[in-house]
Amino acid sequence: MMSSLTATERSRAFMITMTVLLGGLVMAAVGHGDPIGMQGWVVILFTAVVGVVLLKSFDAPDPVEDRSASYYDDPTRVGIIIALIWAVIGMGVGLWVASMLAWPNLRFDAAWSSFGRVRPVHTSGVIFGFGGNALIATSFHIMQRTSRARMPNQVLPWFVLIGFNLFCVIAASGYLMGITQSKEYAEPEWYADLWLVVVWVAYFILYMRTLARRNEPHIYVANWYYLAFILVVAVLHIVNNLAIPASLTGAKSYSAFAGVQDAMTQWWYGHNAVAFFLTSGFLGMLYYFLPKRAGRPIYSYRLSILSFWGIVFFYIWAGSHHLHYTALPHWVQTLGMTFSVMLLVPSWASAGNALMTLNGAWHKVRDDATLRFMMVAAVFYGLSTFEGSFMAIRPVNGLSHYTDWTVGHVHAGAMGWVALISFGSIYALTPVLWRREAMYSWKAVELHFWLALSGTVIYVFAMWNSGIIQGLMWRTYGETGTLKYSFLESMIAMHPYYVARALGGLLFLAGACVGLWNVLMTVRHMPRHAPERDYPTSSEATEPAVPAAE
């Protein structure tokens, strides 16, 4: 894997790794006695492993083949495997925290194992670990294919991928030590946030430089979505995480914003993490892998334009629907609600565009579980965006907010849309990436599909029931005009649904395990098979290609 790097590139990569290791040493030294010191050791351990991997093939000869005649797929391969490993970890932890809500004694009486500390390991594990790695890996693949150009640099993609995973590891280990900003989906502390900015800038540079080398005048729609993902996530991340550390030798920091302004900023971030992390990039996947797999062109170019700019423009306004009936000024709540409802138009335009693309290929959907993953993902995307717009309406939100209905909605999107499109893409991508004829076992793909679908449906129905029951119990009045149920009674009523939810999660996790196994078996046991015409058009890829004239 490292042997496709030249000696110069390997030493450059080693230098970067050692620099980061040095940073870890500094953290461990100055942060002695503070959690940040422990985080320093995590950095040291992580970079040491990377360093050892590099050293093992340090003296290998330079690659002899003409590298510009092929795409650079090694980082994508590693990224896909890492994404699946994070899927198993993140969903496994998810199953654990879900079980803790049904059986609260399912923890070892330790400080690190309480629900509050483990839950962000689940959310970050699946969103950033699984989702983020899947996004980075597929974007590497798609930007090269749709540009018909190789990436401009061999070290930069590794830096982005490994650097991002360092962030994920710092984050997850930190939560267990009690390091958190408490900002939902932005829990990591200031030093991790700064590191992510560095990685993200590198990612943006890599993307732009690859696009600059393209042998295709037009930038394909999947790339618009990946670009929006990279750019807007950067803005959201930086603004939401503005904070002052209590000390440069400690992990703790205090948010620059307080109270109502902080609430708006956090949900501006939170909802657009959904928009630009969990939607935009995955739509990029959908726009590339679905038409590829179906063998049909995208149904409508114009719908793509409409939905893209609609999503970019409308989504940003929607965050305040998380704060209905709170101390946030009414006008902001109303704006958020209005734009959330309007958001349905571009969302359904995307989902419709995807489903219409399948016209003429529905027999493939029937036979091919990989394409079915993508089709069902598009359906869940349509369903959960409709549900989202509906729940953003103030009186509906009055019932749903603070209940499990929100959790169910999130998981309809996260499991039904994000995870299914990722799994579908991974199954479509794996044979191409490793030059294999097909997946090791199509039956396992089929099994994974039904496990994932049934898990999602059980999960979502359980949470709809529990959420709506809970919301109604909170507001039910008895004949005497007083509240009929105590909070405790509403909580006891949740128990059967929490058990059902854990079961749904178990099925979904089992599917992810089958997927990881299947990908590994494909890599190890399937015969080689080179796809036709999967190489950059211009062999002089070292020079930036001039986009063809009109």
Partner: protein
């Protein structure tokens, strides 16, 4: 009729598609377009919250957290309590009857970050202060199911054995002042001493806590343990002050009539 109404939109759409066909050949055009399109909403919704004066009410009696309470708040964050408990009572009748007067923006104006929460696996805590005794809070945190058999809350017995670290409290208060909480030099300098004194009512330094944070401040042995000040002291001190930083909500919201 419909056709005539839609015609301008169709024309705009046509124009947009054609422009886009040209623009999508330039990665910088897309970059700038995305930043601009995504920038508008956030700017319009967030910036005015800092400039419109009546976004946050005036409450002259609103006080800052004492160092012990702030330390408790940091523990509340560290343990992820916000994942299951909200601190925001909405303007809905059942919430006001269940939890008390609805939350005002001013009540969290010194909260960096805010802990309004998004999920109530457990009840709202915005006004939990003084609702239960210290003893109840401690025993509940030690083992929730001893008091509420059906509870699914994790037990936090280890807090009772963890001595409170006060060395970094001056730094923490200074950082909070940097982001806008009006701590005085004196408060910052005495943060460590005040934190310990607030849990030691008989100590000589207890007077300083009243002096700096007001006579209403609760100075007592929160965890029932007099030999040392623990993280349990801090967390309970924080829980007991929730909803009691200002009297404004009670003053402007009359009791709900039966």
């Amino acid at each position: 009729m419909l056709r005539r109404l839609l015609k301008p939109f169709a024309r705009f759409f046509e124009f947009h598609a054609r422009t886009h066909y040209r623009a999508e050949r330039h990665s910088m055009a897309l970059t700038v377009g995305i930043i601009l399109a995504a920038g508008v909403g956030g700017f319009v919704e967030i910036a005015p919250l800092f400039t419109i004066a009546d976004t946050v009410e005036d409450a002259p009696d609103m006080r800052v957290y004492t160092p012990l309470e702030q330390a408790g708040r940091d523990i509340y964050i560290r343990e992820g309590c916000y994942a299951c408990h909200s601190q925001m009572i909405r303007t809905l009748r059942d919430e006001v009857e269940r939890y008390g007067p609805y939350s005002l923006a001013v009540e969290s104006k010194y909260d960096h970050p805010m802990l309004w929460g998004s999920k109530r696996t457990g009840p709202d805590l915005a006004r939990v202060g003084n609702k239960y005794s210290d003893d109840w809070q401690v025993r509940h945190l030690m083992n929730p199911r001893a008091l509420v058999p059906q509870s699914v809350m994790p037990q936090y017995a280890f807090l009772q054995d963890a001595p409170l670290i006060t060395a970094d409290l001056p730094d923490r208060l200074a950082a909070l002042r940097a982001v806008g909480v009006p701590y005085s030099d004196e408060m910052i300098a005495n943060a460590g001493v005040d934190a310990l004194a607030q849990a030691r009512p008989d100590s000589a330094e207890a007077g300083g806590v009243f002096e700096r944070y007001g006579d209403e401040t609760a100075v007592r042995t929160f965890d029932g343990r007099t030999d040392r000040v623990t993280e349990m002291d801090a967390l309970v001190a924080y829980l007991q002050v929730l909803g009691n930083l200002t009297d404004l909500p009670d003053a402007i919201q009359p009791e709900v009539e039966e």
